[in-house]
C-alpha cells in the first residue's frame, strides 16, 4: 500500500485473521499499524494486492458502499472523538441517530449499551467530567451501536495510566469472549504481553513477527 508521493505504508504483508480472534498490531510510530487498520475501514485503499473482509474484496467496493461497510464494524479512534457539549448518553445517541435509529430505539438501547461497557452510572456526565478511561469506555460504547462482529481500536490505551489501560483491555477481552473479533493497534508492550493474545509486529511497513506463526512452529 502506497500513499500519494510514493510513500510506502505497507509492503509484502500477508495476514489472515479469523472470526473471534483478538489480535494486537504492535510497532513503533510509522510502522504501519494505523495503515493496516485504515485498509480495513477503507479510509485508504490498497495500491497492490487484495484485502478481504468476510470474503468481500475491499478494493472492489464502491465509495457509496463504505458507510455500509463501516456499519458492520465498530471503530474506536485514538483520540476518543467525543462531542464535548453532549452528555455521555447523548454522545452515543447522536451516533445512533446518525445511522438512522429512531428516537424510540435510541431511548431503549442507549442505557443497555452504556451498561455493557460499565459507564451507565456516568450517563449524564459531560466528557470533560470523565477520566481518560471513562472517556475511552464511551468511545467503545459508541463503537458498539451497530452490534458489530468486528471491533477495531487504534491505540485505545495511548492516553491512559496502567490501571485504566488494564481496565480497557479487560473490557475488550470481555467483548471478545462474547464472539466479537477485536483488532487493537498499540505500542503498550506491558499490557499487550499481559493479555497473552496474538501479536503481529510491524516495522517499516512490513510484518516482522506474528505470534500465531511462532506458536505453530515445532519446537526445535
Amino acid at each position: 500500500m502506497e500513499y500519494p508521493g510514493y510513500v510506502t505504508g505497507l509492503r509484502d504483508v500477508s495476514l489472515q485473521i479469523n472470526k473471534g480472534d483478538f489480535v494486537f498490531f504492535v510497532g513503533k510510530t510509522g510502522a504501519g499499524k494505523s495503515t493496516l487498520i485504515k485498509l480495513l475501514t477503507r479510509e485508504v485503499s490498497h495500491t497492490q494486492g487484495i484485502v478481504t473482509l468476510d470474503g468481500r474484496d475491499l478494493g472492489r467496493i464502491r465509495e457509496r458502499e463504505i458507510p455500509g461497510l463501516r456499519r458492520e464494524m465498530g471503530i474506536v479512534p485514538q483520540d476518543f472523538a467525543l462531542l464535548p457539549r453532549k452528555r455521555v448518553w447523548e454522545n452515543v445517541a447522536y451516533a445512533m441517530r446518525a445511522v438512522g435509529h429512531s428516537r424510540t430505539e435510541v431511548r431503549r438501547k442507549v442505557p443497555a449499551i452504556l451498561d455493557s461497557v460499565n459507564i451507565g452510572h456516568r450517563a449524564d456526565a459531560f466528557p470533560h467530567q470523565l477520566s481518560g478511561g471513562e472517556q475511552q469506555r464511551v468511545a467503545i460504547a459508541r463503537a458498539l451501536i451497530n452490534n458489530p462482529q468486528l471491533l477495531i481500536a487504534d491505540e485505545p490505551t495511548g492516553n491512559l495510566d496502567a490501571v485504566r489501560s488494564w481496565e480497557i483491555m479487560e473490557l475488550l477481552k470481555s467483548l471478545n469472549l462474547k464472539g466479537t473479533t477485536v483488532l487493537v493497534a498499540s505500542h503498550d508492550e506491558m499490557v499487550i504481553h499481559r493479555m497473552a493474545r496474538r501479536i503481529v509486529t510491524l516495522e517499516a511497513g512490513a510484518i516482522v513477527s506474528d505470534s500465531a506463526n511462532e506458536e505453530a512452529k515445532p519446537d526445535a
Binding site: R70, I75, A81, L83
Partner: protein, 291 residues
Amino acid sequence: MLDRIAFVFGEAMIALRRNGFMTFAAISTVAVSLFLLGGLGYAYMRAVDYAHAIPGKFDMRVYLRQGTDASAISGAAAKIRALPGVASVAWIPKEKAWAKEKKEDPANTIGIDNPYPDAFKITIKRLSDGDPVADQLRQMSVIDPDPGVVYLKDEQHLIDEGLKVMRWLGLFIASLLFFTAGVLIFNAIKLTITHRRREIRIMQLVGASTFTVKVPFLIEGTVQGILGGCISALMLYGAQNVFLKFLMDLDARVQISAFPTLFAMAILGSVGGAYGLLCSWLAVATPNRAQ
C-alpha cells in the same frame, strides 16, 4: 425515514444557530442583493410602464407626398407594418385631419384650402426603435421629404438612455452583491464544516450515509438563501410604501399599483433558496484544505 429527516434538519438548525455571525452576514447580503435586483427590476418595469403611458412617446407621424393615390397608400402601410420595431400603423386621411383642425381652431382655418397631406400614425414597440424605423421610412418614395417623419426624437433618446443606465447599473451592482452573497454562503458552509468536523468524523466512523453527512449543509445554505429572499421582498414592500408616502406628500398624481408582497416573497425566496443550495453544494463538493 421521518426520523432521518428530523435528524438532518436538526443538524442544519444547530449549524445555523451556532454559526450565528456568518449566517447573519450571508442572509443580510442575500437580502440586500435581491432587494437591489428585485427592486431595480420592479422599478425598471414600472418606469417602462410609465414611459408607455406618456401620450405620444411611442408615436410617429409620417406625412405622404401630395397626390399619393389610395393603392400606393395601402401598399406603403403594408410595407411599414412589416418593418421591425413597428407595433401598429393607422392611416389618417387628409380630410379627417383637416376636419379635426377646423373643429379645434375654426377662426384660423376659415376660407383656407386643406394644406394637410395624407399621413400615417405609427406606434413603435420600443423607444430605441424610433431612429431605425424613421431612417427606413425616409427611404420610401411615398413619404414627403419635408416634413416627412415627425416624432419626439430627443425625448425618446432621453427616456431610452435613462432606462438603459438603470438596467445596466442595476444589473452590475446587484450581480456584484449577488456574487458576494454567494461567497458568504460558501464561506458560512465551509466554516460550519470546519466547526463540525468532529461530528462529521463520528458520523463517518459509525457508517452514517453520505446523505446524512452532507444534506444538513445543503439545508443550511438553502435556508440562508430563502430567508435572504423573503427579507428582500419585505424590504421592497417597505421601500414602496415609503416611496408612495413621499409621492403623496408631494401631492403627485402618479398611480402606482399595489406591491405583490406574497408573489415577490415566493419568487425572491425561490431564487435565494436555489442560489443558497448551489453555493452550499459547491462548498460541500470542494475539498476542505484546512482539514
